[in-house]
Point group: C2
Chain length 269, copies 2
């Protein structure tokens, strides 16, 4: 069940600027027992991303109406929330009176293997690199070809995620997740002011660390340094947290940080 501007629809106009240029932003989140998990955080992030793109983000209440409509029939769903700049005339210039398009796509909750949580996952080092573009970095926009190319590098179902560096060799993130690496008492996540996405779960990990007295901060590091980490995990709104236990020929035992963060991310705020 999908909604376009609040009306049930499985299609979007060919004039939509999201389709033509990737001119929009999106969120992926869980509808759990009829409630959109961490919605206030997701909405704030969506609105901030829209501001950076110069798009007028619809008010939160409209999305909440959409969620309620969906939840009546399907209380547990993966939800993709998209805001595009709206319909175009022709060309890159947007008219001044353009109205944004609001889309909510609901799908089945992905069933990841239980062992991903219990024993961690294998990760692949992507040859694809993310470009350095401060104007777009951090934003979850619809220009995701780099992620598509990175994800296309492996088809082995035993590999759960790929790790991507920027064009200068700094680790950025997974193809669909943010990354954390523990070095001694310090937890590092790549700076995403030049590449990558500043995800909602990444922000929650940073906040939780603070409240628990774990020294977590953003940093710049390459693959060689990453391989010296005591524990590595990736997060997003669907997977929670997965420890990476096998990567680039190196293995890690199950750590204590990842399950702790996973439990917390599973919570209500």
């Amino acid at each position: 069940m999908n909604l376009v501007n609040g009306i049930e629809s499985d299609v979007i106009s060919l004039h939509d600027r999201g389709w033509n240029y990737g001119d929009g932003a999106f969120r992926t989140l869980l509808l759990r027992n009829g409630r959109p998990h961490c919605w206030p955080r997701h909405y704030t992030k969506l609105r901030d991303d829209c501001v950076r793109l110069g798009i007028a983000c619809p008010p939160s209440e409209l999305f909440e109406q959409d969620f309620n409509f969906i939840a009546e029939r399907h209380p547990d769903r993966t939800i993709r929330v998209v805001v595009t700049r709206g319909d175009m005339a022709r060309g890159y210039a947007a008219s001044l009176d353009i109205q944004p398009t609001r889309v909510v796509v609901a799908g089945a909750v992905p069933a990841y293997p239980a062992e991903y949580h219990d024993h961690g996952v294998r990760a692949h080092l992507c040859r694809t690199t993310f470009a350095i573009q401060p104007l777009l970095a951090g934003i979850k926009h619809l220009n995701r070809l780099e992620n598509v190319l990175a994800r296309s590098e492996w088809s082995d179902p035993g590999i759960a995620e790929g790790i991507v560096c920027d064009t200068e060799g700094n680790v950025v993130s997974g193809t669909m997740s943010n990354l954390f690496a523990a070095f001694g008492a310090e937890l590092l996540t790549p700076d995403v002011s030049r590449s990558g996405v500043a995800g909602v779960q990444r922000a929650r990990v940073l906040e939780f660390s603070k409240s628990r007295g774990i020294m977590a901060k953003t940093g710049v590091f390459g693959i060689v340094q990453l391989l010296t980490a005591d524990e590595i995990f990736v997060v997003n709104s669907l997977i929670g947290a997965w420890q990476i236990t096998s990567f680039e020929g190196k293995s890690w035992r199950s750590g204590e940080l990842t399950p702790e963060f996973r439990r917390w991310l599973d919570g209500d705020d």
Copy 2:
């Protein structure tokens, strides 16, 4: 009149990967008197772009059927041809049996002011820069947020195009066009192996130059050098060639190169 996989439609599936990720490539060209201008070149470029993205480009004949269908009713149109990777399940990974989606959107031919050809145009220097991404450079893909941001920098209708540099300060192109600059007997166009699009009209200018004994080549140069050019012009499949006669406080008289190239670009090959 628009066609999706050969069937009249003004909408696309919400599961289309073009809409979700900008996962596709496109061309813009003119249908003139029922014939798609420079179609063999456009098709070759579209197919090459699809190869680089790992998308199976539909055969040329299918597009030609679409053009014929449209031309019966509308012989003069702007045509946007799009190939996306197809419909998605969920996530960045594409299934192995995915079928590409072929779209042809036909619209009115834009009516640019005659003075653009007669007296040249004013151009704006964009603050937006293009990221350096060799994996995507040259491809006319659907990830065009940088172009959208660059084009949003001005609303003055007296400005016809914006000039964009890469994040290292090298001139790349216009927001919707490729750029050429004459320095003495030499005609330079920015190298697009790290940013920008290798357009069909750019390739034609380079070829035409060869056949006319004009020394044209790709190069790397910044705005300071560009401002010392004897003549600057931009090209694409809709505008033909426009001379830039006003840019960054400098003016140029009408040159002889631009009209010559414009006439040639207007020709049949």
